[in-house]
């Protein structure tokens, strides 16, 4: 019983839980959007009704007019317009924007590329099942970053992280970071491992270098039988598909692999791959090869022909998958930008910024009013934070009773808690 690399990948949660077909992705996003829309409309209607009631009470008791709560910036409840929810596309643009901002945030906090990429994937996974209308990406992204730091073992202490991401304008408290943590972890279904194509790209390039050096020992399905033959062949690869074969020196070849292929591919993986759906649709192995395909097609095709017989149907399928994946990568804004003149780039950026600005404004008017204050929601859930919150007495009482009953039940079943001797628990 032998396991190959594919079998190993199939055991990962990334494959089992977080891989989808394009249709599945679209359907899920539509579903999430629909549910969030309904919920927002319902909650807004309810809160508006409550407001009207409260206003009536106020006017009868005679102390109306004091309503400073966000009079200058209307939110979904205070605005009197019909709630206009985000569409699926708008949601995606919005999430993508916040993914980009999160990358900047991660760089600001001096997290490694792995942490940033993990964080972005956490966000994308989170917003597959949740809408930004329900949970604002601003709050979620901070916590996702904190979580990603922990899961990639680059933990920054909570206080340190909070001060790190606070600016003069916005102060971020540790409570704000912790509040949605469990929510996110749950939405991620406790799958903290994200498989990235970064190390894979390094491994692949190392393998290619060993071909170039004539030291290759792996499987060889190409027409060049010996390691020396392979080395000669790779030195003669054309620079572009269909281009002329020209013999390169080994220094030139090393430059080609490391500078002209590896570097742009790594950039693509770092930025574009994280911002697109490729993590959901393809495996890390396919993603790095696709990114390299964009940078140096002849090299990748040659490399694949060494790895598997080019007559096999699997080879064809791999090539098709790689081209599809490469198409997704290359058609993304961040990749297209690279090949455009500066003024064109600036125009694209401005367009994008305007769109994002519009979306942020729009979102303000369709944010789920029940989920605005995550800190308070979180406190309400916690056992011993009841005093601090403004829960009404009745609710608190019932909660206390329920808790006591639960405790009693579990005590009769499991026996009471063991007494703690010695030092008091912190």
């Amino acid at each position: 019983m032998k396991l190959n690399e594919d079998d190993l990948y199939r055991t990962s949660t990334q494959f089992r839980q977080w891989s989808f077909t394009a249709e599945q992705l679209a359907a899920q996003r539509a579903k999430t959007n629909l549910q969030a829309t309904e919920r927002v409309k319902l909650n807004v209607a309810r809160q508006r009704a409550q407001r009207v009631q409260a206003a009536e009470l106020d006017s009868t008791s005679g102390n109306s007019g004091i309503d400073g709560s966000g009079a200058n910036t209307p939110n979904a409840v205070t605005s009197d317009k019909e709630v206009d929810c985000l569409t699926v596309t708008e949601e995606m643009t919005f999430v993508e924007e916040f993914c980009e901002r999160t990358m900047a945030l991660g760089a600001h906090c001096k997290f490694s590329d792995n942490v940033i990429a993990t964080c972005v994937q956490f966000l994308r996974r989170f917003y597959l099942y949740n809408s930004p209308m329900t949970y604002h990406a601003q709050n979620i992204s901070r916590t996702a970053m904190f979580l990603a730091g922990k899961s990639e073992s680059e933990h920054q202490s909570l206080d340190h992280f909070a001060t790190n991401i606070s600016s003069e304008k916005t102060k971020v408290t540790p409570e704000q970071i912790l509040a949605p943590e469990y929510l996110i972890v749950q939405a991620l279904r406790f799958n903290f491992d994200v498989k990235h194509p970064f190390r894979a790209l390094k491994g692949g390039v190392l393998d290619m270098m060993s071909i170039a050096n004539g030291k290759y020992e792996g499987p060889n399905h190409s027409i060049h039988k010996t390691a020396a033959d392979l080395s000669t062949a790779i030195h003669q690869l054309p620079r572009k598909t269909g281009g002329l074969a020209a013999k390169a020196t080994s220094q030139q070849l090393a430059d080609r692999i490391m500078r002209e292929s590896y570097s742009p591919a790594a950039q693509t993986l770092k930025k574009t791959a994280a911002l697109t759906d490729v993590y959901f649709l393809y495996t890390p192995s396919q993603i790095w090869l696709a990114a390299l395909l964009l940078a140096d097609e002849p090299l990748v095709l040659f490399y694949l022909s060494v790895k598997m017989p080019s007559t096999s149907p699997v080879y064809e399928k791999v090539i098709v998958a790689l081209r599809e994946c490469a198409l997704i990568l290359s058609s993304h804004r961040s990749h297209q930008k690279l090949h455009l003149p500066a003024d064109e780039q600036a125009r694209m950026d401005a367009e994008h910024r305007a769109e994002v600005k519009r979306l942020i404004k729009k979102l303000k008017l369709c944010q789920d009013p029940d989920k605005l204050d995550l800190v308070k929601l979180n406190q309400a859930q916690k056992r011993d934070a009841v005093q601090g919150s403004d829960l009404d007495v009745h609710k608190a009482k019932r909660r206390k009773m329920d808790r006591e009953n639960f405790q009693k039940d579990s005590d009769t079943f499991w026996g009471p808690e063991l007494p703690t001797y010695g030092a008091k628990p912190a």
Binding site: N4, E5, D6, Y129, G203, Q286
Partner: protein, 339 residues
């Protein structure tokens, strides 16, 4: 012998679900479970035959018996007579050598029953076949009948020596077959002429017994003491294979062969770093992991595999679906107000 057989036919043979109580079990019941019709203050049973002290004067008095001869005497007599080592039984006409360690309280008031139970226990420890060891139920029943016959021979003191020897041979044969440690059959110590404990000469006497029967065992090694029809051959379990934590699975990379070393400019720089030279860090681990990552899932086509997964969904897929609905459902599990 004939008497025994008829007795055995009486009912000890198990017939399917037959629950016919044997005479023995009836007598056991009447003796031990039924409330005794005799009052406990029976003069005869409450007076020590050795010192003549009675329970009437000493309510805490305990009577003990020794399975050598089942003669009853009080605890203080046992202490007095046998504390200094084995001594002959003080009951007139007995004179068997008894040891203090073997004295115990009788479970049954009727000491005949006590003895029978002891014999049965000893026989059962050797004749311990089960129904599954036999080809047919009939063979098993025949076996049970034979065992019962042996038991009654011992109880009724018929052919005791012969039966004991056969039992010992049977025990040896069983031990040899299973490879277990040899189980010594202890012959009934209450039998005259059996190899009972005779002070310190017990060992030599037993050896003498073995040598006397030695020529028969030597010439006929196959003699197991008994022959039961339809007994399945016991197959010794195969020797245990060494523990394999991976249960026979191994990782066989398909697209790469791990080489001793890889060259790249950025790598040579790292290789010289102090941090990489510490113990426990191995470059080959990095190479292996990087290459495993590089090809992990190369030919996993998510589209195809998900479609294939959807058709006959295993339990994993169901779990996934439920998790998905839980995660996506209108109210995320336990996320809002918990009550």
């Amino acid at each position: 012998m004939s008497k025994v057989t008829s007795r055995a036919n009486g009912g000890q043979v198990r017939q399917g679900e037959a629950g016919g109580a044997s005479p023995l079990s009836k007598s056991l019941y009447s003796l031990s479970l039924k409330p005794s019709s005799r009052p406990r203050t029976d003069a005869a049973s409450d007076v020590c035959p050795v010192c003549k002290s009675s329970r009437y004067l000493n309510p805490n008095m305990k009577f003990l018996v020794n399975p050598e001869c089942y003669h009853k005497m009080c605890e203080s007599c046992v202490d007095r007579i046998f504390s200094h080592g084995p001594a002959p039984c003080p009951i007139a006409g007995c004179a068997r050598t008894l040891r203090k360690g073997k004295f115990r309280e009788a479970t049954f008031e009727d000491l005949k029953v006590e003895r029978e139970v002891d014999i049965r226990r000893r026989v059962a420890s050797i004749m311990n076949k089960e129904e599954s060891d036999f080809e047919t139920l009939k063979d098993y029943n025949d076996y049970l009948e034979q065992v019962e016959e042996i038991t009654w021979n011992l109880i009724l003191k018929i052919d005791v020596d012969e039966t004991n020897h056969r039992l010992q041979r049977w025990a040896d044969a069983q031990a040899a077959e299973t490879g277990a440690t040899r189980r010594t059959y202890e012959p009934d110590p209450s039998m005259a002429g059996a190899s009972g404990v005779v002070l310190k000469k017990g060992g030599t006497q037993r050896r003498a017994l073995e040598t006397s029967s030695g020529n028969t065992t030597d010439t006929n090694v196959k003699d197991k003491g008994f022959n039961f029809h339809g007994l399945k051959k016991k197959v010794a379990p195969p020797p245990e294979a060494p523990f394999d934590p991976f249960d026979g699975w191994s990782i066989a990379p398909q697209y790469y062969t791990l080489q001793n070393d890889y060259d790249a400019d950025w790598l040579t720089k790292h290789k010289r770093e102090k941090e990489q030279l510490v113990g426990g860090y191995q470059w080959s681990d990095f190479y292996n992991r990087a290459l495993q990552d590089a090809f992990g899932g190369l030919t996993v086509f998510i589209d195809d595999e998900i479609r294939a997964r959807d058709i006959p969904s295993g339990d994993a897929a169901i779990g996934t679906e439920r998790a998905a609905t839980a995660a996506a459902g209108g109210q995320d599990v336990n996320m809002d107000d918990i009550f």
